[in-house]
Point group: C2
Chain length 140, copies 2
């Protein structure tokens, strides 16, 4: 992966290596601040400004995705994982991933009807946990 970046003309610095590692190990969708906290633990003296700058570089190189959810700070994730959409918990800010073959297909159909081929799309559901009648899985 570093090789690919170097080939893309991106210098591999100590701080970038740390950031890449933190991103690779992240199971969630951390924002710049959280990434800084984690990276800073491995390498004190890695500044927040560098985190931001590196994130932009990595995004441009296509190795990470930036998700700008509703006003809140941008969140990042490596782009090596299969496509999925997001459900954002409006109360906790938690991000839940999901994927629906049906929706993917419908989107393509709709685009086709309008005379288009989809290059990519963005689907975000914003909701809150069901109260009243049970229903969800993951019980609190």
């Amino acid at each position: 992966m570093e090789g690919a970046l170097r080939d893309a003309g991106v210098r591999i610095t100590r701080q970038r290596r740390v950031l890449l590692r933190v991103l690779a190990e992240a199971e969630d969708h951390p924002d710049a601040n959280e990434l800084h906290r984690r990276a800073h633990a491995l390498d004190p003296g890695l500044s927040l400004a560098t985190v931001y700058r590196t994130l932009s570089v990595l995004e441009e190189a296509g190795v990470i995705d930036r998700h700008a959810f509703e006003g809140k700070p941008a969140r990042f994730e490596t782009s090596d994982r299969p496509h999925h959409d997001h459900l954002i918990d409006l109360e906790t800010g938690a991000v839940i991933e999901f994927r629906s073959e049906k929706i993917e297909r419908l989107q393509a159909e709709i685009a086709a009807e309008l005379g288009y081929d989809i290059v990519h799309h963005r689907l975000e559901l914003y909701g809150r946990r069901r109260k009243g009648k049970a229903g969800g899985n993951t019980p609190r």
Copy 2:
């Protein structure tokens, strides 16, 4: 409309009346700053802070919708128009509105499965016009 707001416990002040008018007359999707400029023209001494506060109140009352596009400032529009999603033409930048009952339903189903109720969602398709076989309808 003011009546509905008053019934919802929202006081109708001079500045709110102006804002409502500006919003009603807006054909586009202005952001807070632009709304302030327009409202300020009708009523100098209407502060930006009030614009923001009023927008929040109106959003909560359900009379306007807030759209947060890609990090950019939030844009607003009256919610009296039917819901729709967007298909963005990557080549021309054209924005096509569409609505799919099926997708709406699927989204609700998916959220329900995850134990959530959807408050709202954002669906944007990015694509390019079909080449080869004809296809499109609405030629521009």
